[in-house]
């Protein structure tokens, strides 16, 4: 016997498929979409991303735009790039990801904190630890947040040196 209700349920949980810059077509679930209400600086129209990981490429995390298959940022978890990394977000940025009025969020349990990687020829890769991507893990709202009084720049060469990262 068929259960039309159930059939509908199954259909709505069918994964969506998107094209990606590096990995060909990828299936994903709606519930995994990261929403950046203001986009990302220089890409203000791109508001929906997927965080893609491959075991072979750990600890890299790829932020793939859902509306633009050609846009994908390679990132490292900030604490993988710099083990002692701490957030110091502005009240406005905390507000934007639904954590306004609270203390600095805990990386890992409250927020995902990713540093965008950049690669130039004949130079070591750099990470942007001045302005990490911070995503509220409960709401999946995200923002690239310029840190106040940051000891790091937007272009920290890997591997990092200095006491804060040892």
């Amino acid at each position: 016997m068929l259960y039309p209700d159930r059939m509908t349920t199954i259909q709505t949980t069918t994964p969506q498929r998107c094209e990606t810059r590096y990995f060909g077509p990828v299936d994903y679930d709606e519930s995994a979409i990261l929403v950046f209400p203001d986009g990302i600086p220089a890409f203000e129209q791109e508001t929906r991303f997927l965080a893609l990981q491959q075991p072979v490429n750990k600890p890299l995390v790829f932020l793939q735009s859902l509306s633009n298959p050609g846009l994908c940022f390679a990132t490292l978890p900030a604490q993988a790039a710099c083990p002692g990394y701490q957030l110091n977000m502005s009240p406005e940025d905390l507000d934007a990801i639904g954590l306004g009025g609270g203390p600095q969020p805990a990386i890992g349990s409250e927020v995902l904190c990713l540093a965008i990687l950049s690669l130039e020829e004949n130079a070591p890769p750099t990470v942007n630890l001045l302005a990490p991507i911070v995503v509220n893990l409960h709401t999946l709202r995200g923002r690239q947040a310029i840190q106040a009084d940051s000891p790091y720049s937007h272009r920290e060469a890997l591997p990092l040196r200095g006491a804060a990262c040892s």
Binding site: Y22, P41, F62, L76, L119, N128
Partner: protein, 79 residues
Amino acid sequence: MRRRAGESILIGDDIEIQILHIGESRIKIGIVAPKSIPVTMKEMELVRQENLAAAQVRSVAALRGMLDKLIDGPAEITP
């Protein structure tokens, strides 16, 4: 031009920079400007440029190769 806390600077007819508070190592500034004029920290421009550069990374393999030399052992990743 010298200003104290509570004083302002006017730029043209419709931009006002208010010195709200002067602390030991930082000052709090209020900016009144028309909505058509974006007001951002200078760092925002650096971040924009860096994002544009980062979006040009050509291949994962190139990145992977460089990172393998730099990061020792498997790093824990969350979540």
